[in-house]
């Protein structure tokens, strides 16, 4: 049971060239807007047609340019949850669900299915409402209910939380996680929010410029992103072009310092990154990768302090984040900063 995608599609501005494999798990497609995430989902769903390639779902070809196969969306058994929920505005929630059920089933049976799925998604008593009378979260749950009753082979979610308020988002996310676990098949979850993807997904594919820049287990991607795109999309705020400078060391061009790294990759290092919360303020310039720093700017964030630090004259700044408590314990702005070698992310690809 799995999804296999290997497609090519020329679009104005860029070419989508996606190779992707997903088992029975929740796969996060992480990418900036315009990276081809949604287009990939649309090609799998069959509402867009790739120029060439193959799409297999559980061994069943949905699209195969060599064999001239291109199933209509109706025959693909693909559940697609849109950002806007896409409920039919002229029907109540119950009618929305009822109308996608097969005509053959007896009426009583269909009504039972509708009531069951409404209960399962916490929409009891809302079946009578029109979509316009629901909250954003209720609309997404109703749309998911409508997808579930069609018993799809895969569920694809296109930024389902992005139109919601922050506090609703968290709750819906947890509910969706349970429903998707319960579903048990392959789920593709598209988002540009790394935290959302990290919490919800088992594995991650990072899309950049129409290509998969990195794919695999989410721990691996976050701990060792390997490419510039993956590093940036997993939320790393400090990335500098770098070149090898001796054994176990790289020169970070933007920051003007030579850094020791723990395990140098086999390929030449092209960038080096470090997450803002991995920078350590310290008292003196001892130990590897400790430098005196100039505080260019100090910002108060909601629950943390953010410093922009310069390590060498004329160099670009690094961003350091620490909790308010840590700042209090430090007793003042950092004078020295350490970039722990084990926390540095050497990147070998764009």
């Amino acid at each position: 049971m799995a999804l296999e995608v290997d497609i090519k599609k020329r679009l104005p501005g860029f070419t989508l060239e996606v190779r992707l494999k997903a088992e029975d798990e929740i796969v996060g497609l992480l990418g900036a807007s315009g990276s081809g995430k949604s287009m990939t989902l649309k090609c799998v769903a069959g509402v867009e047609t790739p120029d060439e390639g193959v799409i297999l779902l559980n061994g069943r070809p949905l699209f195969d340019s060599d064999r001239n196969i291109n199933l209509p969306p109706q025959k693909r058994r693909v559940g697609y949850l849109f950002q806007s929920a896409a409920l039919f505005p002229n029907m109540t929630v119950a009618q929305n669900i009822l109308c996608v059920l097969k005509d053959k089933a007896p009426r009583a049976e269909k009504r039972r299915v509708v009531e069951d799925v409404l209960r399962r998604l916490g929409l009891e008593g809302l079946g009578d409402r029109y979509p316009a009378e629901l909250s954003g979260g209720q609309r997404q749950r109703a749309a998911l209910a409508r997808i579930l009753v069609t018993k799809p082979d895969i569920i694809m979610l296109d930024e389902p939380f992005s139109a919601l308020d922050a506090y609703l988002r968290w709750q819906l996310e947890q509910e969706m996680r349970l429903v998707l676990r319960d579903f048990g098949g392959t789920s593709l979850f598209v988002s540009h929010d790394r935290d959302e993807v990290y919490r919800l997904c088992d594995s991650i594919a990072v899309l950049s410029g129409g290509r998969v820049a990195a794919a695999g287990d989410k721990w691996a991607i976050f701990n060792n992103p390997e490419s510039f795109a993956a590093c940036q999309l997993t939320g790393c705020k400090n990335i500098s072009p770098a070149r090898t400078a001796g054994e176990n060391a790289v020169f970070a061009e933007d920051w003007g310092v030579t850094l020791r790294i723990q395990t140098p990759p086999r390929e030449p290092v092209r960038y080096v990154g470090i997450r803002a919360h991995d920078l350590e303020p310290c008292r003196g310039g001892d130990g590897p990768n400790a430098f005196p720093c100039e505080v260019v700017e100090a910002l108060r964030d909601t629950f943390s302090m953010v410093f922009l630090l310069r390590l060498a004259p004329g160099a670009k700044t690094l961003r350091l984040e620490m909790s308010r408590e840590a700042y209090k314990a430090l007793g003042g702005p950092p004078e020295y900063v350490r970039l722990p070698p084990e926390k540095l992310l050497p990147l070998t690809r764009d």
């Binding site: 069959g46 209509p72 109706q74 697609y80 896409a86 505005p89 002229n90 109308c99 079946g127």
Partner: protein
């Protein structure tokens, strides 16, 4: 007073509206999917009748439906009668002149229509026919009503093309607009005024219908307590 122009006008306007809705819906549905160049061409052609002077449309209709025109000959061969000056000639003329109004209104609505609704319907396994009749059309209701009323009003007021194709035959092809013209030409001011008032009443009534039924999707209050899905347990 001979009321035949009223019946002829209503018959013509209603029939022309029905035909316009059918042809206009199909035309709008298919042109929306065409490529850019072809769409521009087809759209230009279909919109031409409202841009051209009605007499010019009438001229082309005579070329096409006349005794020597292709459609005229066909009808002659099949039914042994002439289209020109027939009782249905006003319907043909009114349909051709009024149909672009409906086509244009619906094309606009279809182009604005949220494509994710179509895509979600398709991925849920709903047929394209179901999506068209049960999702797209109900959600284009305001445009549908507006288009229908505009088309009806235009068909009711048709004069130029009708005169060319159907002539002024009292009791057969003479509509209200033609009756007004005839009455004025004959110096019968009172009769003309009477027809003008009738025409005003019908046109204004049509506009009222549009404003009271087409001004947006039906409003549905959350707390109205009305059961929309009676079998559903609360």
């Amino acid at each position: 007073m001979d009321y035949s122009p009223l019946w002829i006008s209503l018959r013509t306007a209603i029939a022309a509206t029905v035909f316009s809705v059918a042809i206009g819906l199909a035309a709008a549905h298919y042109t929306v999917r065409l490529g850019k160049t072809l769409k521009g061409l087809v759209d230009g052609l279909l919109t031409l009748p409202i841009i051209l002077p009605p007499t010019v449309v009438g001229y082309f209709l005579l070329l096409f439906f006349g005794v020597n025109g292709p459609a005229g000959r066909l009808v002659q061969a099949l039914f042994h009668e002439r289209v020109v000056f027939s009782w249905y000639a006003p319907i043909i003329a009114s349909t051709v002149v009024a149909f672009p109004l409906f086509y244009r209104t619906m094309r606009g609505a279809f182009e604005e229509f949220d494509r994710t609704l179509i895509h979600s319907g398709q991925t849920l396994g709903l047929s394209n026919a179901f999506i068209f009749w049960r999702v797209i059309l109900p959600n284009c209701r305001p445009s549908f009503i507006a288009g229908t009323v505009l088309t009806f009003a235009r068909a009711l007021g048709e004069f130029g093309a009708t005169m060319m194709l159907a002539g002024n035959i009292p009791g057969r092809t003479a509509t209200i607009s033609i009756a007004v013209y005839s009455a004025m030409a004959a110096g019968n001011d009172a009769l003309a005024r009477r027809w003008v008032l009738i025409d005003l009443a019908i046109s204004f009534g049509a506009m009222l219908i549009m404003n009271f039924t087409g001004g947006g999707l039906r409003r549905r209050g959350a707390g109205s307590g009305e059961r929309r899905t009676p079998w559903l347990s609360r």
